[in-house]
């Protein structure tokens, strides 16, 4: 028999090295924050793709071969899709290049007419010079598109980094877990499993949801004979990653294109009905099935997260805001649970007592 009641004396010196390393890491992140972005994006992509690699790994295929296989298949698929998309999008963009001045003139004309009517009725509006401001805004559109070009380098850097993150697998995590104090492993892994379960479902769910919405939008817009259907559908798919935005962006952009193409409000009405349909389909069918295991977020919280994301990191901040909110919500839940169980905020839970003995 051994005596385990005597607790070893706490030695706070043991925390000096981890604390120093932690602070050094924070300082490094602060110094190199500009270079970290592709790594964060790659880590997110590796996290999303990891289940695919795990699928093959638990079936006995070595991780490195599974990653190479995934890249070869994904590369071929991507090449085909990009080739087809570039083919269609180039035709559409070429057409847009030719027709943009005409469309821009029509938009300016429309705004000038509207402005003239408004100024006639409300002379005060003349001082705002809305028509001039709008013309200037239209001239800046190509410049705004050009500023997005540097983001294209991410398309090459991110898959490269992701490859090594996927091939490495959970090596770093395993190393950290193997070196954690043994008694804390269970709780740390419990927390990690909880976050993984809800965040993983959310990320994989939202990607599938965005893809389904892209397909529906593409089919619908092609059937209505709208110009630039592929470009608009891609825009809707990408904006669907941000809750509530997809159908809204689709409705606005395609209404503008439809007005310029057909000059009729009936088509716009049909488009609005179509996108309202997509919105309800998303709410009633897609989300309940795809996102059933994911974290549930209140719409007000989503809005706050989106606005805070925009404030902190612009468009990328918006894209990452919801996953980060999921993590924060799960951590808060776990923290409250731990307070209740480990620190006895609530009376100690009693095991189920039964009066009938084992028979």
């Amino acid at each position: 028999m051994t005596d385990i009641t005597a607790e070893p004396k706490k030695n706070y010196l043991q925390f000096v090295l981890p604390a120093f390393l932690g602070l050094a890491l924070i300082y490094f992140i602060y110094l190199a924050k500009g270079a970290l972005f592709p790594f964060i994006l790659s880590a997110a992509l590796a996290y999303i793709l990891n289940p695919v690699i795990n699928y093959f790994e638990v079936r006995g295929i070595k991780r490195s071969y599974a990653v190479i296989g995934l890249y070869v298949v994904a590369g071929l698929l991507l090449f085909t899709v990009v080739y087809l998309l570039v083919y269609f999008v180039t035709i559409e963009l070429e057409a847009l290049k030719d027709t943009w001045p005409v469309y821009a003139d029509r938009i300016v004309q429309f705004v000038q007419n509207l402005n003239a009517k408004m100024v006639k009725n409300y002379p005060l509006l003349a001082s705002l010079k809305l028509d001039q401001k709008f013309s200037h805004l239209l001239e800046t559109v190509p410049q705004v598109i050009l500023t997005l070009l540097p983001a294209l380098t991410l398309l090459f850097v991110v898959p490269f980094i992701t490859f090594f993150m996927l091939a490495g697998g959970s090596g770093i995590m395993d190393y950290l877990l193997d070196h954690l104090p043994a008694r804390n492993v269970e709780i740390v892994m419990h927390i990690a499993s909880r976050i993984d379960a809800s965040l993983g479902s959310y990320l994989r769910g939202i990607l599938l949801e965005a893809f389904v919405i892209f397909l529906i939008a593409l089919t619908g817009l092609l059937m209505m004979g709208l110009n630039y259907s592929a470009v608009i559908a891609i825009l809707i798919g990408i904006s669907s990653l941000v809750p509530y935005l997809g159908a809204m962006v689709g409705a606005v952009v395609s209404s503008i294109v439809a007005y310029l193409q057909f000059g009729s409000f009936i088509v716009i009405f049909r488009l609005l009905v179509f996108f309202t349909g997509i919105r309800f389909f998303d709410d009633w069918f897609l989300q309940p099935y795809i996102m059933k295991r994911a974290v549930k977020l209140n719409p007000a919280i989503i809005l706050l997260a989106l606005m805070a994301g925009w404030e902190l990191g612009g468009i990328w901040g918006v894209i990452f805001s919801i996953p980060v909110t999921c993590i924060i919500k799960e951590i808060l839940h776990i923290a409250v649970e731990l307070q209740e169980t480990e620190f006895r905020w609530k009376p100690k839970a009693e095991p189920t007592r039964i009066s009938i003995p084992y028979t």
Binding site: M1, T2, D3, I4, T5, N54, E57, V58, R59, G60, I61, K62, R63, Y65, D174, L177, D178, A182, R183, V185, E186, I187, M189, H190, S193, R194, A197, R293, T341, E342, A349, P351, T352, Y358
Partner: protein, 162 residues
């Protein structure tokens, strides 16, 4: 010959050995090899060094442990003498800490590795996910868990009074 060499290079022997090991675990009895793959996906692994405490009596339990290699000693604090008494030794292929899968209650014993030990952990949340996404598999595990619990309870009752 070359083709089989290539296959051997692609296949991870370690994973295949783990699947073979799980096939003989009582908790997974009756589960086909194809379905065992999903079980393996849900398990976490860790090696404990000799003398390390896996959990202590009174800690909140959140996972079941399966010993892959090595040996674990389970001990319980006697309320009368305030000394810990060894109540069991867990060898490869055996499980312990199963009550954590049913209720998150304080552990009733302390588990210490008596030699370098590799364990698989099945967390309650992972079992719940299995029950939800693969009910047939989940029900099989739950049923085996009930049988093991019943057998352990029977063993306590049939143990001669000391």
């Amino acid at each position: 010959m070359r083709f089989s060499n290539l296959l051997n290079q692609i296949y991870d022997e370690e994973i295949l050995a783990k699947l073979g090991f799980l096939k003989n675990i009582r908790l997974f009895e009756g589960i086909r090899r194809r379905q065992l793959i999903h079980v393996l996906e849900s398990l976490q692994e860790r090696t404990y060094l000799k003398g390390e405490t896996i959990f202590a009596q009174g800690d909140i339990g959140r996972a079941l442990f399966i010993v892959f290699s090595g040996k674990i000693e389970l001990s319980r604090l006697s309320p009368a003498t305030h000394k810990s008494e060894v109540i069991a030794e867990v060898n490869p292929g055996e499980i312990f800490g199963e009550m954590a899968l049913l209720e998150e209650m304080p552990r009733t014993a302390t588990a210490i590795a008596t030699e370098e030990t590799r364990v698989f952990m099945l967390f309650k949340i992972k079992l719940e996910t299995l029950l939800f996404s693969r009910p047939e598999l989940g029900v099989n595990i739950a049923s085996q868990l009930a049988k093991i619990m019943s057998a352990r309870l029977r063993a306590i009752l049939e143990k001669p009074e000391q």
